[in-house]
Amino acid sequence: MVNGALAGRSLVDLARSGDAAAFELLVRSRMDATYRLTFAILGDGADAADATQEAFVAAWRQLPSLRDLDRFDAWLQRVAVNASRMTLRSRGRRRVREIPMTELGGADESAFGAAPARSDAEALRSALRQLSLDKRAILALHHFEGRPVAEVAEILGIPVGTAKSRLFKARSELDKALREERR
């Protein structure tokens, strides 16, 4: 990728004006990150795929309303969080849950280097299921995406102070759930 932010902005600008080819490039370049964020929130491959698709469809429809093109990635993450919420609500429809590769072993983890003990990921997945979607989202944005609190606040559209307190509460709940997982 030699084009960097300038080309990124150009793609967003083109996509905003209705260029489907530009949007396709945006989808291809952001697919991996968006899928992983929704996976970190939802903890399920099939749900993450649904949410990712919904997020990009919503992004395509809503791009004309995006004013600050430089904030496209943060905006897309906001859309992805909302799509995750809608997916979680619809989860009840699915009677048969797909078992993602990460549960079966053999997943390609090379992109992130050596994985920690497998039980940590499993414990985290189980613990996250005890948390509300909002708490999962703020945890994923901060601890998985590595976003500072100010960016988390911007993505979620809430004041920084609110983001801090919500993050603190979410982390406390997660710690409690993780302790219970270890019993």
Binding site: G18, A20, F23, E24, V27, R28, M31, L37, F39, G43, G45, A49, T52, Q53, F56, V57, A58, W60, R61, L63, P64, R78, V79, V81, N82, L88, R89, S90, R91, G92, R93, M101, T102, A107, D108, E109, A111, F112, A115, P116, R118, D120, A121, L124, R129, L131, S132, L133, H143, F144, G146, I155, L156, G157, I158, L174, D175, L178, R179, R182
Partner: protein, 488 residues
Amino acid sequence: MNERSGRPKDGGWDDDRLAAAYRSLAAGPVPADLTRTTIAAAEAAPRVGRRWDWAGGAWPRPRFVAAGGLVAIALAAILIGGLALRPASGPGANASLAPAHGLAVRSVSGLLAAEADGSIHGDDLLAVRGWIVQELVPACPYQEPRPALEDTCTSRKILVTETAQTLVTFQPVAAGMSETELAPSGPHLFARELTGNYVDPVISSVLDPGNSTGSPYRPLEAILVGHFHDARAAECSADQRAACEAAFVVDQVAWLDGKSLGPNMWIGGEHDTGALLTPRRDASSVAAALASSLDPADSIVSMSAVQRMDITGITGAGNFVPGNGEDILWYVRVAGPPPRFPALAWGTGNGGWMVLDDASGRVLGAGGWGFVPANSASYSPSAAPSLAGGLYRLPTVGWLPGNLCAGVGLDAVLRGSPTDARVAWLENTGTNARRDVTWPAGYHARFTPNIEILDENGSVVLRDGDHVEGACGYNPDTGWTYLEPPFK
């Protein structure tokens, strides 16, 4: 990253370990076909006012088809036997005169005019005949939860027009297809749903292109049963309060596109996970459990299964029944006379609601039919509490006793007078100060000649001078103390 504490947690989960676990959790490959299907789905999703590529001739999804899969199960046309589950009659050859639960069916303009001139009584059930008109699916950004009836981008609204209208049209252009969405003309309203989205699946089952002919944007003739002045309007912000009060909330799609439907049914999701609830009872079982409590002339309009902790999402913030928040309750809308049980201070009104415990089948409470709970701001003690049979009306809430209470300590005795507006009260031991109290649903008093308190089944549970050591709750804002057994 420097904001991270890195503090070791009790279980050894510092931030680095948590981040590593997250990376491992989400390390699996992106599904092979996801990029292709996503691009195809996006291309099929039009943008209002913009040109879009025509993808294989498929219709872009209208609002109700798109929403049909959200967390709900809607079982329309529950045509099972039993008095309480009678489906509403359809308009047939003369729709304007057809009844729905015995209600007069109004036109959209007639409904709006009646609401505007104040001739509609409270949240009385109303039937309106009109056309459900499809709109495009709005794309909404992330949004903080708002009160149920407030108008936001993500609000679920059903456009009902007086005349048949198609607002979304498509025209071929050089690069594909162009869409146009018009504003509705003539009398129309944007109806809201009682809970969840039980209306959408009913509509989408008719609109699904696989099950019908023609455009999914075609208007559908319908008779909707609903009400204005929903209790949740009180939760709206001041600038939206009037709009919330004037929102027509749909309790039932009674007739749709040529089909007469039975009670609409909705199964909610778990509060935290969204997973579909799995109640023990089906529609017949719920109706059977309510049969002895309802009036024989009653008919069930809709029923919704929700967790106890979510019941105020329907009944309103102040109308909470304490207990295990994870219990599944049935919220049942009823048309007809007030129920026979519990015996509340019913006012006037042509409909109300009952709440049933899914596990036990026990009626937990009721409301509507003009009943004003004694813990609400609009309650005022009755000027004539005397009833037939020597009974006196007590100030009660809509919930029956037997729920879990936080408990507050008291040291008082029961006192009462047939000439007092509240009939019974507590007198503090030592100070003799009076404390007004509120009772469970169905409680009454009698004087033989001293006061006796009777429970919802007519059994005496307290007598004049009996010592009371505990209450269920106290609200310092309204000053009411709620009593329910055991009183010690």
